[in-house]
């Protein structure tokens, strides 16, 4: 075989490494890889007392992606095998899951853990050769700074924090403000109320840079209010009343959809008519928003880095991958599509390894080398172009609005497209780590 390769090379005939090795028998090349399978682990907090099924969408997304991939011939000649580890609300169990995955899985996909602040088990994980090169991790939820800046983690929706500034007195955050620019263009300068998650410091940290950036883009901050996710609707009365009294034109909930519903319901009761833009996070792109909010959440804006996939306005006809996602995942939500996309990112990185060295070149080291080179990831057109490898927030977004009980695309108008202007991303400097 080697002689044949040398002879071909000498003749100058084009031949890829894959072709050179396609006759070679598949073998176990690293931990989690056998001749037949590639084992990946999804670690997610699911079975939680009082918050059942928190990240179930992540598990559904990864399992759906694996099934889809296997139905389409697998990866590197092998089938994908998914191990699920429910970390619940325990950082200790999340670490145990990482330790287990380090020994038995090739990579982590869709990681969504809470209350864990130590990721040494990811970064110091050893490969089959005993080298502490780390466990490749393609997470969905990166709540803690240590996870955001882990050298072996590439979140599918990259964090705002620029990790090379994490030790600076003021850190740099890259924030997508495309929707804000749209709001200001449509409605003029706005004055707003901002609701901040009051239960978790890390959740708060992910909200604050966005608010500061919005302030710089033309939405002045009338007031910010910490709100608990467990607050009853009556807690929103003073907020709604303040919005009405000050005739604010913008209101944004940085919590999940239940908070947005409570705010909108209370605002309706308090006859708030001044607000022109009701804004919310990606977590509001959920059927629960409409089921729970009904007519009260009409006109609610929600933006996201994906093509719309819920309700009658799902754009599965414009994108084959989105169509597959909706076929393979029964209860699609924002977490599921991110997890599926994380799987596609893994696929792309792995294919690069195979392209370079063949099916038996699969090692964690090779995967870790290829992941940072993927700087224009689109999940086969399902999401806007994102520099996942470079850990940079994407400028791309689709803005939707609830109209007649469904999420309807607002901008860009053309189905299957994203607004990806470079100017959508702005940098802000804040000290949120040592604060």
């Amino acid at each position: 075989m080697a002689l044949a390769v040398a002879a071909l090379a000498a003749t100058g005939l084009p031949m890829t490494a894959v072709e050179a090795q396609e006759d070679e028998a598949l073998r176990a090349t690293d931990k989690g890889i056998t001749a037949d399978t590639i084992n990946v682990t999804v670690v997610a907090a699911v079975d939680i007392p009082g918050a059942q099924g928190l990240f179930q969408g992540v598990v559904d997304g990864v399992e759906g992606w694996a099934e889809y991939t296997n139905d389409n011939g697998g990866l590197a000649g092998r089938n994908i095998e998914v191990s699920f580890f429910d970390s619940r609300l325990s950082g200790d169990e999340a670490r145990n899951a990482f330790i287990d995955a380090c020994e038995n899985s090739f990579a982590l996909i869709g990681t969504s853990v809470l209350f864990l602040n130590n990721f040494d088990d990811l970064t110091e994980c050893t490969d089959a050769a005993g080298q502490a090169i780390g466990l490749p991790d393609f997470p969905v939820v990166v709540a803690e700074v240590n996870h955001q800046c882990s050298p072996v983690s590439w979140a599918i929706n990259p964090p705002q924090l620029q990790c090379d500034t994490r030790d600076h007195p003021e850190q740099t955050y890259r924030v997508t403000t495309g929707p804000t620019q749209y709001y200001v263009k449509q409605h003029g300068d706005l004055e707003g109320a901002f609701l901040i998650p009051g239960d978790s410091e890390s959740a708060k940290n992910t909200t604050v840079p966005g608010i500061v950036a919005q302030g710089e883009q033309g939405i002045s901050i009338a007031f910010e209010q910490d709100v608990s996710a467990l607050a009853p609707q009556s807690d929103y009365t003073p907020i709604a009343a303040a919005i009405a009294q000050e005739s604010l034109t913008y209101a944004r909930s940085g919590l999940d959809y239940t908070s947005a519903v409570k705010l909108r319901k209370e605002a309706k009761l308090q006859s708030v008519t001044s607000v022109e833009v009701w804004d919310c996070t990606l977590q509001c792109y959920h059927t629960g928003l409409i089921e729970q909010g009904g007519a009260d959440v009409e006109d609610q804006y929600v933006y996201m880095p994906f093509l719309p996939f819920l309700g009658d306005n799902a754009e599965d006809q414009t994108n084959d991958m989105l169509k597959s996602f909706l076929e393979y995942v029964d209860d699609p939500d924002g977490f599921a599509i991110q997890a599926w996309s994380a799987g596609l990112f893994f696929t792309e990185a792995l294919n690069k390894v195979v392209d370079a060295g063949g099916n038996n070149a699969l090692t964690r080291a090779a995967l870790l080398k290829q992941a940072p080179t993927i700087t224009d990831f689109t999940a086969d057109g399902m999401m806007g172009k994102t520099n996942v490898g470079g850990r940079e927030q994407s400028p791309c977004f689709v803005l939707t609005q609830v109209r007649d009980g469904d999420f309807e695309r607002v901008t860009p108008r053309k189905k299957g497209t994203f607004n990806c202007k470079k100017s959508n991303v702005v940098e802000v400097k804040l000290d949120l780590i040592d604060q």
């Binding site: 918050a51 040494d120 467990l230 009853p232 729970q292």
Partner: protein, 745 residues
């Protein structure tokens, strides 16, 4: 005598004036410091403040009223009140939404059929045997019930579906000033008032009500006067459950959807209202609810807490709870307490040393055999055991119930990060290397003054009120202290591993050719420290100090009469307890490699008390049992993930259900049968059996071979040197029931 009485009265009077002045000064400082200068004050703003405050307050009041009713009519502070309301709100949803019943029949069936049945079932199966149980056992059973109901509800109604029940009268309402008040909130306020009036009439104007209160004050005396305590008690719980159902349904309206967590935990926020009502006065409970509501409304309308204290608003109900407890009249010194007292055994030193040696050997074998995840679970179990151990002298011996151990654990973690991870620099002096074991010592020492701070209310509070004060302390600590940038800040703190003589505990090592994996060293360190602390606790148990603690628990008045200084005794036991918990906190942060505010929330500390009591609150081995049990639910689920059980057509994952809280909950509920805990019970059974065997060999003895349950005499010396210091004090029918419970007004 008259002069002394006047002096005491004057002292109390001035004490209250000083305390009032201090609180007023503190509130004035907060208002001046955090006044929002951008806020305009006009009539509309004031109306808004009042309307929002009253609305919020009425919801707190309704939630707290159920608590007060249950306590007034059963004498048990029911932590599960919120969970019962939550469960019944789900039943209401099931009837109204899932089965399509109209609102009124669904409401009737829930409040007047399902709720009373549930309450009666709880009384018959759980609460009846708790009438004479120690307070800690009563609390643990209700906490267990709360966890079990949450787990059960999560299993029956999984959280991945949105469930709403709508609101009474939709969005109709009226406006005061510029604030709209929907009828469904008016309904809440009116129903809250009507319930208060109805219950007052019931309790004070009807024979049934008088009987209910009489049964709580003196079950046997009430029976002697012709009452039927069982039936009355059952009615009381049925009534309390109906109250819980009403609160649960109103809360579900306010939350917009049904969630097990929101509906259950909200009741904790309402504790302050119940305490302002002294757990007996419904009108004052209503006032308490209004105080909470108006305080929250004031903060939101007029104050700007800034970045540093932005989360402090969440702590307002806890602060009010703490202040309300401080202003309670000083508890009277009690005479002999009636009822079952938890046995605090005195182990021999030899036996204790043998036990710890066995534990070390087992730990060494386990450390060599387990894989890393299980090593980490075992290490976590030992750290948890240490935290639980801190409660043995405090709760097991001295009877001071603390929910604040998790706070001391957090203080220890912070002290370790500060004094060891930071490089051992103090005053620009290099005191020790990062990761030095001196950091563990510092953690224990730093926790002591915090323990003493916590002890301050203990000097004047007892029993349930002290437990609630400690809970308020634990609720306040995360938003007001742990989240500060000087402590854990927003991003948490990294923690250095412990080093000794250049060796890092946690790294792999080899002894006598036996390889120990990573984290095995930490497990051995944790076991060693548990043994050292445990042996210290055993020695303490054999000392005069522990006898003082137990005497203080059994009869504070007698102790004071004999010249025991209750003040220093209480301070000392809180200090010791905090030191052990602080050490556990340092170890916890080392094992996790990081420490953050979220690790030290009050709810995370509930299993410490729950499972320690299950294991045996007065014995060192009880802490070990409780900690292992806590980890066991997780371990069983991971090892056997697919074991299912079927109930009718429904199928449940057994270990997932247990792990969800049902396991710990059932264990807590089970303590009602055996308040001494599993270890003392098993140990007692073992000794009994052995005594019977010995007696049978001699031809006669206790039980006479008939399997009888004749108790071992209280002070009977045992051949191995162990002895039982305090026997359970059985109540005879002629003795009055304990009068700790305040008479309802």
């Amino acid at each position: 005598v008259v002069v002394t009485g006047e002096r005491v009265a004057r002292h109390v009077h001035w004490g209250r004036i000083l305390a009032s002045a201090a609180v007023t000064g503190f509130l004035a400082f907060v208002i001046v410091q955090f006044w929002n200068p951008n806020q305009t004050i006009d009539a509309n703003r004031i109306i808004l403040f009042l309307v929002v405050g009253v609305t919020l307050g009425s919801i707190y009041a309704v939630a707290a009223s159920g608590l007060v009713v249950t306590y007034t009519t059963s004498g048990i502070f029911n932590f599960a009140q919120g969970a019962i309301g939550m469960f019944l709100a789900f039943i209401y949803w099931e009837l109204k939404v899932n089965h399509g019943l109209p609102t009124l029949p669904a409401l009737f069936l829930t409040v007047f059929v399902a709720a009373p049945l549930m309450g009666a079932a709880i009384e018959v199966t759980l609460m009846r045997r708790l009438a004479n149980a120690p307070l800690v056992a009563q609390l643990v059973v209700t906490i267990g019930l709360m966890l079990a109901l949450i787990g059960l509800a999560d299993t029956i109604w999984p959280g991945n579906t949105t469930r709403t029940i709508g609101t009474f009268f939709g969005s109709d309402g009226f406006t005061i000033g510029t604030t709209f008040i929907p009828y469904f909130r008016v309904t809440t306020i009116v129903v809250g008032i009507l319930i208060a009036v109805f219950l007052r009439l019931l309790l004070f104007r009807t024979r049934l009500g008088v009987t209910m209160r009489a049964v709580v004050d003196g079950r046997d005396l009430a029976a002697l006067n012709g009452a039927r305590p069982e039936r009355v008690s059952m009615f009381s719980w049925a009534l309390g459950s109906s109250m819980a159902a009403v609160a649960g349904i109103f809360l579900a309206e306010e939350f917009g959807r049904l969630g097990t967590q929101e509906l259950t935990i909200f009741i904790v926020q309402a504790f302050a209202a119940a305490i302002i009502g002294r757990l007996r006065s419904l009108p004052m409970t209503l006032v308490g609810g209004l105080i909470i509501g108006l305080s929250l409304s004031f903060q939101r309308n007029f104050l700007d807490l800034g970045d540093r204290f932005s989360a402090a608003g969440v702590a307002i109900p806890a602060i009010i709870l703490f202040l309300a407890l401080l202003f309670l009249p000083e508890a009277r010194l009690e005479g002999r307490r009636i009822g079952h007292a938890i046995t605090a055994r005195v182990p021999s030193l030899q036996r204790a040393l043998f036990g710890f040696a066995v534990l070390l050997v087992v730990a060494a074998i386990v450390a060599a055999a387990l894989d890393r995840p299980d090593l980490r679970r075992a290490g976590l179990a030992m750290v948890t055991a240490l935290a639980m151990l801190s409660l043995v002298p405090l709760t097991g011996w001295s009877g001071q119930i603390s929910f604040a151990q998790i706070t001391f654990v957090g203080i220890g973690a912070w002290a370790y990060t500060e004094f060891s991870t930071a490089g051992g620099r103090m005053f620009n002096l290099e005191l020790y290397d990062p990761g030095s074991p001196w950091g563990l010592v510092a953690a224990a020492l730093v926790a002591v003054p915090v323990g003493l701070l916590m002890a301050l209310p203990a000097l004047r509070l007892q029993g349930l009120y002290l437990a609630l004060a400690s809970m308020a302390f634990a609720l306040m600590a995360p938003p007001l202290f742990f989240s500060q940038e000087e402590v854990f800040g927003n991003a948490g703190r990294d923690v250095a591993p412990v080093h000794l003589f250049g060796h890092e505990f946690g790294e792999p090592f080899e002894i006598f050719g036996i390889e120990f994996a990573r984290d095995a060293g930490f497990l051995l360190l944790a076991v060693l420290l548990f043994c050292v602390a445990g042996f210290g606790v055993v020695c303490l148990r054999r000392s005069r100090f522990s006898r003082r603690l137990i005497a203080m628990r059994d009869s504070p008045a007698a102790c004071a009469t004999l010249g025991v200084n209750l003040l220093t005794t209480k301070l000392a036991v809180f200090g010791i307890s905090a030191a052990i918990a602080g050490l556990a906190g340092a170890l916890l942060s080392v094992q996790r490699g990081a420490a953050q505010t979220a690790d030290f929330e009050m709810l995370l500390g509930l299993p410490y008390l729950l499972l320690l009591v299950v294991g045996g609150v007065a014995v060192v081995s009880g802490a070990l049992f409780g900690a292992v049990a806590l980890q066991m639910f997780t371990w069983l689920l991971i090892r056997f993930p697919n074991v299912t059980i079927s109930i009718g057509s429904a199928e449940f994952n057994l270990f997932a259900t247990l792990q969800r809280g049902v396991g710990a909950g059932l264990a807590g509920i089970g303590i009602g049968r055996q308040p001494d805990g599993v270890i003392p019970h098993v140990s007692h059974e073992f000794r009994e059996r052995r005594a019977r065997k010995v007696a049978a060999r001699r031809g006669a003895g206790p039980g006479g071979g008939g399997g009888g349950q004749a108790p071992v005499p209280a002070a009977m010396a045992r051949p191995d040197g162990d002895r039982v210091a305090e026997a359970p004090t059985e109540r005879t029918p002629a003795e009055p029931a304990r009068s700790e419970h305040p008479t309802a007004r």
